[in-house]
């Protein structure tokens, strides 16, 4: 096993699976292009072949050197991240929520719209970042919501997702109506 760890093997397995899935799927669009003899698959398959070589090379490097960084690489990320989150269940759950909540927010944008969901999302992120003073959460949620509405709705009049489910859609419509009335004042 050399200096290989379980993490290295999982990483290699993921990349090899991606290469395999993308290669298999490339037969779906393996069509002839009359003006181009290499067709639509040559480029992606070349990229996949090179990715396969690089993955195997990376695995060999990890076999010999473990996770050690190589010399001669410049500007490597200065992130001081470690595997410690996997040892502490509470931290792991918190990180899981940090990753999931933005995705849930994005998923809810279509039915609920941004005007209604934004304050809850803002407060949730603050909470997950460790803020526990409810007054601070409340005040900063209002401040950020006002900045967001002021900049994008009032000043720039940007088109944002309004939702398509009642009563969320009605709330967005009310916000837009208020904005129109505000604009008419000036």
């Amino acid at each position: 096993m050399g200096r290989l760890t379980k993490g290295h093997l999982v990483e290699a397995a993921i990349w090899l699976s991606i290469v395999a899935v993308f290669y298999a799927y490339s037969f779906e669009f393996n069509q002839v292009i009359e003006i181009y003899i290499f067709g639509a698959t040559a480029w992606p398959r070349t990229v996949l072949f090179l990715l396969l070589l690089a993955t195997l090379g990376n695995l060999y490097h990890q076999y010999k050197n473990g996770s050690d960084a190589q010399g001669g690489i410049f500007g490597a990320a200065a992130d001081d991240v470690s595997a410690s989150i996997f040892q502490d269940r509470k931290t792991l759950i918190r990180m899981g929520l940090v990753l999931l909540i933005p995705f849930a927010f994005a998923f809810l944008l279509r039915p609920v719209g941004i005007y209604f969901s934004a304050p809850f999302f803002i407060a949730a992120i603050m909470l997950l970042f460790g803020e526990r003073r409810w007054k601070a959460i409340l005040i900063m949620t209002v401040v950020i919501y006002i900045i967001f509405i002021g900049l994008f709705l009032v000043i720039l009049n940007a088109q944002l997702p309004q939702g398509n489910v009642s009563p969320f859609y009605d709330f967005s419509a009310w916000m837009l109506k208020m904005n129109t009335q505000l604009r008419e004042l000036f």
Binding site: F29, A54, G72, T91, F105
Partner: protein, 496 residues
Amino acid sequence: MIDNFLAGTYALFGDPVTIGIFLFGVIGGMLFGAIPGVSMLTLAAILLPFTAGLEPAQGVMLFAVLYCTGTYGGAITAILFNIPGSPENAPTSFDGYPMTQQGKAGKAVGAAVLCSAIGGVSSALVMMAATEPLANWAIRNIGPPEIFALVFFGLAVASSVGARTIWKGWMSVLIGLLIATIGQDPVGGINRYNFGYIDLAAGIAFVPAILGFFAVSEIFVQAEKKATGKYNAPKVSMSFPSFLELWRHKLAVLRSILVGFFCGILPGIGATLAAFMGYGEAVRWSKNKDEFGKGKLEGVISSETANNAATGAAMIPLLALGLPGGALTAMMVAVFQMHDLQPGPLVFMLSPDLIWIVFAAMFWANLSILIIGVIETKTILNLLKIPFQFLAPLILMLATVGAYSGRGLVLDVMVMFIAGILGYVLRRSGFSIPGIVLGLILGKIGEQNFAQGMQMVHYDLGTYFSRPICTILIVAGVLTLGTSAYRAFASHKKPV
């Protein structure tokens, strides 16, 4: 030329409405570039419909000014938060962010202000003097094989910076290239990798992907540091670099101006590649290579000079040939079309006034970075004093709007958050996020130009390599890959 420039300047500052639009562009570009989570592209996408109500010269000028000042503004977030405002600022974060962590944010931002202005002004001057002859030269000498060769060279440079190992550097670029294959193929329009999802036929829009990889993943990294108690608030400092410190890097500035201008002039390449190559060349010529990536001022200077030097040059293919060099210049084509104009050789004959207002505006916008940039920077530096738990939701909200505003699709917001999660995981594993992003941006351009080049030379590699510029760039790319591999294998020491 001077008469035309003065006439353009007079037209620019002789009308209060045009002055107002110019100032809006200067401040808006800097501000949106400098707010983490949004970029000049967000503002440009929102403003695009409104330009229909402006005079053609005002509309095009606004976008040209946004391009100059937004390119600079993105450096601030790259330095202060490790969140590049746009891809062209990604290499700035390699050394800029470590400088912030060392309490030298003021020095890094000060260097970015000055070098962006120097790069931009030099580029604007060359653009004014040489647009027509350079366009003629480019028409004769630059074709798809040369553009493909430059893409190859740029990707070779990008693969050797930013990752923990050379293998992961190459994998990063290849992951970007693979993501770029999603959507229609650029030759036959055949759908690839849409997995039955119709919205993916248009491909992965790069603005949401970039926001995800840079901004959202950085939020996740900071969240982890908070959760594990490793978060250290960045140190605020207002000390700008001295004239002597900057004078020491005069050669780096000059080299980056040349690199930036060369990259900018080639259609489809733009400022992003310029910044990577400016940084890569700085490393290549430096006697202290080991110091790069650890907070070296020269790293910030090189990438910021190069990306702003590309802004003026990017106008040459746009105005002379009608070919946009990036997302913002593509929006400028839309502004032209909204006013029944078509950028290209004819625009010089039919609308010389418009051209010279744009040239003058770009010159003055780059110069104004020096004055307004310093004032704005001192204000923006105070953002570092805001606790991150309050800044994070603001950045995520702005990024959501930034992702959505481009095409008005919720899918793009999802793509952004998926890219954020992917970016976070890949960063933990030592991959290079800038490498992925550059692969994503240049993937389609590279494939399209490779295909066109092959068709041009009738699939004969001998003819392909008989083109000197193409051969030089391909050889340079191979040498770059070879030397980075040699250095990596020759030394098994700790990261540099």
